[in-house]
């Protein structure tokens, strides 16, 4: 697709907006529709768009396969770790009231961390899935 002028220019123009929009959705999940799941999928879609236009090899240089694997694990760990922190502070698992002095503030913090974990996890996993399929194709055709 890199050789097609229209697709290359338009994709290059739109990808930063898609990424910024993904972050917007991630951090405004409290006020408007959205949240970690949606933001993760949008972020992955932005990078997949890059991979479609410039090839998976170029995309590996931006976000390596290893990074998506680590990211997927880190996402789940942030989620689970939030629960462990509330355990350590003497409350039940994933009980955010204990995260801060004020229960409502604690809830805000807990929701923020959990959504962050979900966002990182979903974005990495979706990208990982895409990478798995396309790199398998490249490897099978002997073009890697």
């Amino acid at each position: 697709m890199q050789s097609d002028v229209v697709l290359r220019v338009v994709s290059k123009f739109l990808i930063p907006f898609i990424l910024l929009f993904a972050f917007y959705v991630q951090f405004h999940g409290d006020f408007s529709p959205g949240g970690g799941f949606q933001a993760g999928v949008i972020l992955a879609a932005g990078i997949i768009l890059y991979a479609l236009v410039f090839g998976v090899a170029a995309s590996f240089r931006i976000v390596p396969m290893r990074a998506t694997q680590i990211g997927a694990a880190i996402g789940v760990m942030i989620y689970g770790g939030t629960g462990v922190v509330s355990l350590l502070r003497g409350a039940r698992y994933l009980d955010y009231n204990a995260l801060a002095h004020d229960p409502v503030h604690g809830q805000h913090l807990g929701i923020f961390m959990v959504e962050l974990g979900v966002g990182i996890g979903v974005a990495s996993t979706m990208l990982w899935l895409f990478y798995s399929f396309t790199s398998h194709k490249l490897r099978r055709d002997g073009q890697s």
């Binding site: 949240g35 949008i42 879609a45 409502v104 959990v114």
Partner: protein, 184 residues
């Protein structure tokens, strides 16, 4: 006012599903899935499930088509399905299931009924709607239920997604090995 709208959308969904059952070209079927997802997103918006519509939009517009095509490209030229076999049996099984469920529908609450069992004050949803503003302090009730009230549930879902990624990687990343042939 939006009542007629959701009926029309549901009928359109059934039409698309029927066409999916008829199509034998896998590529065309994958494209029609995109149409299906668009209709669903509009439907979810109409029935106030904005967050669900958001997810469907993100997934349907960006991801599911790409993943489907990624898999189809690995199946080489095989984009036509074989013949449909056992049409009578399949039809009767589907109809039997449909008939059983139809038999149960008169006991269901009507569409949009505010007095349906799920909306009663002794149900969890009542607390979510009326208390979450005070308890959590987040305007989007869906977010507070997702991340706080039902946090275990979402933890499980996140794990499922992670496991799915792991499974796909395990299936596809290994050295290719054909039947009756050693590893390359």
């Amino acid at each position: 006012m939006t009542d007629w709208l959701h009926l029309v959308l549901l009928i359109a969904l059934v039409v698309v599903a029927l066409d999916l059952a008829r199509l034998r070209d896998l590529f065309a079927a994958a494209m029609l899935t995109g149409f299906f997802s668009l209709l669903c997103a509009v439907y979810y918006t109409i029935v106030d499930a904005v967050d669900v519509a958001f997810t469907e939009a993100a997934v349907g517009a960006g991801l599911s088509t790409v993943l489907m095509l990624g898999a189809l490209s690995l199946l080489d030229e095989r984009v036509e399905t074989g013949r449909v076999r056992n049409r009578i049996g399949a039809l009767s099984a589907a109809l039997a299931v449909a008939a059983m469920m139809l038999y149960a529908t008169p006991d269901m609450p009507a569409y949009g009924d505010p007095t349906s069992p799920v909306n009663q004050p002794d149900r969890p949803a009542w607390r979510y709607v009326h208390q979450s503003g005070k308890e959590i302090g987040v305007p989007n009730i869906v977010t507070s239920v997702l991340a706080s009230y039902r946090g275990y549930d979402t933890l499980g879902e996140t794990n499922v997604i992670f496991t799915a990624g792991l499974a796909v990687y395990a299936l596809l990343a290994g050295v290719r090995r054909k039947r009756g042939q050693d590893a390359e």
